[in-house]
């Protein structure tokens, strides 16, 4: 008897299709097409594809999704695979790691990172930091800070002395020439973030835990 290549399991969130990761891709496609055409599902249902240890090219992934969505009553909400390419992994490492810069970012200098950056030193006027993630300055921030360069709206900018000329998060920009009253009076230890209305606002660093609790990378604790 042939091994079953497609397992269907029902969960609260919809169906999970667990696809065998040992067989040939063509066999899998065939089996999936057969299983899907059997029908027997009433109404709309969300489906998750679990690929196991199989790596799919994006074209293949698209093909599978089209097969599943073919009859029209199933919608693929997620494709889950246990493997990623080295390239994807490196990218992930870069955007999730935190880099440390020790020194002073002076006028005309630009420091760029893909992930978070911690600056131990000052950012002087006309100096610029660009980070894919958040920016933490243990010193005076007097230059330009651009966090979340690649569209990360959750990114924040923290400085022990917060006196930048320009604050940018994702595509939001704020020039501080007409300094915000809050920033002017509380230049010590504040941070910038994008609030619910999509504009940049400022709070004391102690409020980060309420406003961006998910930035914490240490889970649990006692």
């Amino acid at each position: 008897m042939n091994k079953q290549l497609v397992h269907i399991k029902g969960t609260k969130a919809g169906l999970v299709l667990r696809l065998d990761d040992q067989c040939a891709y063509a066999e899998l496609v065939e089996e999936l097409e057969r299983k899907v055409s059997e029908g027997g599902i009433d109404g709309k249902v969300d489906v998750q594809l679990h690929l196991g240890n199989r790596y799919l090219l994006s074209a293949q992934q698209k093909e599978l999704i089209e097969i599943v969505q073919g009859p029209g009553n199933m919608h693929v909400s997620k494709v889950h695979s246990d493997v990623i390419t080295i390239e994807e992994s490196n990218e992930k490492v870069l955007t999730e790691q935190s880099e440390t810069y020790i020194g002073i970012i002076r006028s005309g200098q630009i420091i760029k990172t893909d992930g978070d950056i911690v600056v131990i030193g000052d950012v002087n006027p006309n100096g610029k930091i660009e980070a894919g993630g958040s920016i933490f300055v243990l010193g005076n921030l007097r230059g330009i800070a651009h966090a979340g360069v690649n569209g990360n709206k959750e990114a924040i900018i923290v400085a022990s002395h917060f006196e930048p000329t320009h604050v940018l998060i994702d595509d939001q920009i704020e020039t501080m020439s007409n300094e915000k009253p809050f920033v002017k009076e509380n230049a010590e230890q504040i941070f910038a973030y994008i609030n619910r209305d999509g504009i940049i606002s400022y709070e004391r660093v102690q409020e980060v835990r309420k406003i961006r609790p998910l930035l914490s990378t240490i889970k649990g604790g006692s």
Binding site: I104, R106, S107, G108, G121, D122, N124, P125, N126, G127
Partner: protein
């Protein structure tokens, strides 16, 4: 083997040339053999400040292009016997006439004969700056207590920190004590914390500096000027002595001080 020190600022008009002339003379007066190199090709004026302009025969570009030997181009300052020499810049061409590599080999050659080679850097951060920095072992950044000069100094320090030379040192030039006391200009502390490099010395603004430059006599020759003392102190610090920072207050008591001292008795 001597040391080559580049004197730079980024911004123009803060006193690079005056500082070069005065530090060179002060070091020579201390008995060191000093060569001043003007790298401001096309806009030379170090020779004027030293009063040596009418004795120039060959210049830096002539040396680099092999039209003469180095010692033929050097102009001797007769006031400081056999100690102070100037290699003048060319006036007829521009800064692209020389490459950083040529400058480096030129400075290396001068270092063999002189204790100190002071390189006067042109303003800006282009070719002229690159030439001036190429052969240097150390750097001195000159600034004034003005926000624009400090901003440019910050930029130039950033560039110098990327070169393979010792961390640059700072001179704050043209300090106006009345403005500084009233808080109308940046104060010394503000500048040093902003730039975060070591302070080599301060020079108080004085009208004598301008008049002596016009006469072609560096101010350090005049022992009674406060600006002169500033330059002498800096020269001693370059030689490795530890000299306390001079106060910007007047040593002779002013009217107000006298009144206070009468009342405090």
């Amino acid at each position: 083997m001597g040391v080559a020190i580049v004197i730079t600022s980024g911004k123009g008009g803060v006193g690079k040339t005056t500082t070069t002339a005065n530090l060179g003379t002060a070091l020579a007066l201390q008995g060191k053999k000093v060569c001043l190199v003007d790298t401001d090709i096309g806009l030379r004026n170090l020779d004027l400040v030293l009063g040596l302009d009418n004795r120039i025969i060959y210049d830096l570009v002539d040396v680099v292009e092999g039209r003469c030997k180095i010692h033929q181009a050097l102009v001797k300052d007769k006031r400081v016997d056999e100690k102070l020499f100037l290699l003048p810049a060319a006036q007829t061409t521009d800064k692209n006439a020389v490459t950083p590599e040529q400058m480096k080999s030129l400075i290396d050659e001068l270092k063999r004969e002189y204790d100190y080679v002071l390189i006067d850097c042109p303003a800006g951060i282009e070719q002229g700056y690159k030439n001036a920095v190429a052969g240097a072992d150390r750097a001195i950044v000159v600034t004034t207590p003005e926000i624009s000069a400090v901003r440019d100094a910050d930029r130039i320090i950033g560039l110098l920190e990327q070169e393979a030379i010792e961390p640059p040192k700072l001179i704050i030039n043209r300090i106006r004590k009345d403005l500084m006391k009233n808080g109308d200009s940046l104060d010394i502390n503000e500048i040093t914390t902003h730039l975060s490099i070591d302070l080599l010395g301060i020079v108080i603004d004085s009208e004598d500096v301008i008049s002596s430059s016009n006469k072609g006599e560096p101010i350090v020759m005049d022992p009674n000027s406060k600006a002169s003392l500033g330059y002498r102190n800096i020269a001693r610090r370059i030689l490795g002595e530890s000299v306390p920072l001079m106060s910007i207050e007047d040593s002779s008591k002013g009217m107000f001080k006298k009144l206070i001292s009468i009342f405090s008795k």
